[in-house]
Amino acid sequence: MKHPVTQVQLKNGMKVMLKEIRTAPIVSSWIWYKVGSRDEPTGRTGVSHWSEHMMFKGTKKFPGNVLDKAISREGGRWNASTSRDSTRYYETMPAAKIDLALRLEADRMTRSLFDPKEVASERTVIISEREGSENEPMFLLGEAVQHASFRVHPYHHEIIGDMADLRSMTREDLYDHYRSFYVPNNAVLSLAGDFETKSMLKRIKELFESIPQGETPPRLARPEPERNGEVRLTVEGPGETAFTQIAYPFPNATHPDYFPLQVLESLLNGASGLSYKTCRLYRALVDKGLAVDVSGWAEATIDPYLYRFTIVHRPDKEPREALAALDDEIKRMQDKPAPTAEIQRAVKQARAVFAYGSENITHQAFWMGYTSMFSDYGWYTTYLKKLAKVTPGDVQRVAREYFQPKKRVVGVYLPKGKAA
């Protein structure tokens, strides 16, 4: 491999991953916590995301208004995000300034203030964030489909949380969450860029190793029972455009079927990061004049999640016509093995997307940490090899096993016209 990765576990259990890439004077640093929306009990939905916001409100050493300025002053880019399985913070900085990011992350791992006044003002900011999402038909439909897909598993709610909980959660709820999950043995630090591994590791130990280990927090995981029978739902709202979202249960990222399913996705919906105008569904729905657009995507998750298709409907066609065409294409995948050439094409597409990603240091550091949340970095480095091993028979088998109508949820957004 062009750039070897050093992986070390500190005495307090924190995992560190370092990848020297000396192409530009930049370092990207990511810290990952194994906590996300799936760890939230009813009544505290959205607590992971809200806590992520609170991490920008400061510590004693780095007060809120000092913190963001300090990073920006050095020309850094920084942000954070919360997913179903993890919460992550990154800073991408000129190489000579990265120490600031490390000091900041070490400090706020345990010393964020969660000042009650800041909690109060952030409550309305997050409610505003949710209201902005509610403006989008696809958010409303996606939330309904997700909720119908998971009755038992905590993947059932949106990452931002339910409005009722955003209104009622307390400072103590947020702080408890922070103190339980933000411990070094629940964290991974991933760095890529222009540094010397040995001295960087020494510095990381100085800053992080003295943070005491905590109890490893248990994760919520109530397996979703298998469904026997399709669920259909509708969401009504303003607008003139109808959408359909179809969700099938999909295996977790380390399941052996994940890779044949990636090839299947590439054939049906195109490779992620590229245009998808010659994939099977685009040809069958859009070229044939049945829909304006069709797309699909999976997420790499710890527990089985969803594969979702989204259709944007034409105003002159009924949603069921496009859905029938989509079902025909899935049946075609189930009835006949895909030609080997189509599989080779999927591998070449993935190779190109990997090459584009290597231009970007932030992206390189992201993938090390991201894969550590559900597997390990080998998942990423062997991705192309695993894809190349997939056979036409594998693709046919997974198409039959995972894309069964009785397991799916079909949601339709019905527009109520301009004056809803």
Binding site: T23, A24, P25, N65, D68, K69, S72, R73, E74, G75, G76, R77, T92, P94, S121, E122, R123, T124, V125, I126, I127, S128, E129, E131, G132, N135, P137, P238, G239, E240, T241, G270, A271, S275, Y276, K277, T278, C279, G289, V292, D293, R314, P315, D316, R345, K348, Q349, A350, R351, A352, V353, A355, Y356, S358, E359, N360, K416, K418, A419, A420
Partner: protein, 424 residues
């Protein structure tokens, strides 16, 4: 700034520039760190050439050119691209049609061949025209429901009344419905050509080899009588604060855009305005505007300012998404910040912070092939000089507090604002 920083910036020594006999300008720079290549460019065939009854024509044409050429169908063009993991896109703005794409370097000849065919010999197949029209109309139906898009549209209509910048490049439902296949073909015939076309190539290829590849693909293109773009008409200045609201029933959030005219990219005060804008609504967590509207008042998830500077008169805008009942309160806070900005400018510390940010973030904005291609295209477009980024730190550091407050007062008059809102 370290030596290593500087060598990662473009300079006259490492950007190869040449002009072909048909007028095409090529800018090329190598980057062997990844096996990929990026192309990016434009030609002067934007919406400036449209008439009011055919708004959206340039956009329609640019979206059509990859949907069938003399040699290939829509499906075969995309099949060639997608089979090798390459991408290519064409779209349009007011002045230019823009194109961009990327591929593994082994597939650069394919990328340039498809670009060349799309620009020179599109055939506008009838069924593809109708399929695209449905997609464009759906796009307009979604725009009509998007509070942010509609607030922007209202803002530009007021700020740039009777000016090409005030007209949406994606048109209106009636105008897109009225565009015929003949309109598309004619627009392409009259306005697409090599004169004024600029292309930047950055990636794992020697710059001269890249230029030869472009010449092979586009060097023989000739369009006698290719039309010159019309000059921009004068602008009517805003005399007093104008407010406009676009109702969209059933929405839970409203969007707000407040602003005024700003400098064009070549104005001597562009850098001062840009640094001022950073303090006003960018630096840290969205600058002073973010601090007031989001951090202190908790009214919005986003509230920031932005400067849009190009060939013609730019705009200086503050945008926020807020609960409909908080619109007035948010507007009051924004106006208060604008008055403070014009009255007292920025502090010494604020200016130094933003200057450091501008200088420090440069390597990051230039790290990818796409970022680099965009940067050298801009250098060419605005005559900044190929040593621009070598001189950049000096240009940023020499801006004074007096320069910033002068630029603020020149462009922003808190009594003469355009205020646009969209929502329930």
């Amino acid at each position: 700034m370290t030596k290593k920083n500087r060598t990662s910036f473009p300079s006259p020594e490492d950007v190869y520039q040449t002009t072909l006999s048909n007028g095409i300008t090529i800018l090329a720079r190598s980057n062997f760190n990844s096996p990929a290549v990026n192309i990016s460019g434009h030609l002067p065939a934007g919406s400036l050439f449209e008439t009011d009854d055919k708004l959206g024509l340039a956009d329609f044409v640019s979206s059509m050119v990859m949907r069938g050429t003399q040699k290939r169908t829509f499906d075969s063009i995309y099949n060639e691209l997608e089979s090798v993991g390459a991408s290519l896109g064409v779209d349009s703005g007011v002045h230019n049609v823009n194109f961009g794409g990327r591929a593994l370097v082994e597939d650069l000849p394919l990328l340039l061949t498809l670009l060349s065919e799309s620009l020179q010999t599109p055939t506008f197949p009838r069924d593809e025209v109708e399929r695209l029209r449905t997609q464009l109309l759906t796009g307009l139906a979604l725009r009509a429901q998007d509070t942010s898009d509609m607030a922007d549209l209202v803002f530009e209509q007021f700020l740039y009344a009777d000016h090409p910048y005030g007209k949406p490049t994606d048109g209106f439902v009636e105008t897109v419905q009225s565009i015929t296949r003949d309109d598309l073909e004619r627009f392409h015939r009259l306005h697409f050509g090599p004169r004024g076309l600029v292309i930047a190539i950055v990636g794992a290829i020697h710059p001269k080899r890249a230029a030869e590849a472009v010449e092979k693909a586009l060097g023989s293109w000739q369009v006698p009588g290719q039309k010159e773009p019309p000059a921009l008409p004068p602008l009517k200045p805003v005399k007093r604060t104008i407010k406009g609201h676009h109702p969209i029933p059933g929405k839970s959030q409203s969007d707000l855009v407040v602003g005024t005219l700003g400098p064009n990219r070549k104005s001597p005060d562009f850098m001062a305005a840009s640094l001022g804008n950073s303090v006003l609504g960018q630096f840290g967590m969205m600058g002073r505007i973010g601090d007031s509207v989001r951090e202190k008042a908790g009214l919005a998830y986003y509230a920031y300012s932005s400067l849009h500077s190009g060939i013609g008169p730019g705009s200086w805008e503050v945008a926020a998404g807020v609960n409909p009942k908080n619109l007035k309160k948010a507007l009051g806070l924004i106006e208060k910040e604008l008055r403070r900005f014009v009255k007292s400018g920025v502090t010494k510390e604020e200016l130094a912070d933003s200057q450091a940010n501008f200088v420090g973030r440069l390597p990051l904005s230039l790290e990818s092939n796409g970022g680099m291609a965009g940067a050298i295209l801009n250098i060419h477009r605005y005559d900044l000089g190929m040593d621009y980024y070598q001189r950049y730190e000096g240009l940023v550091r020499k801006v004074t507090r007096a320069d910033v407050v002068e630029a603020a007062r020149k462009y922003i008059n808190p009594e003469r604002l355009v205020v646009a809102t969209a929502g329930p």
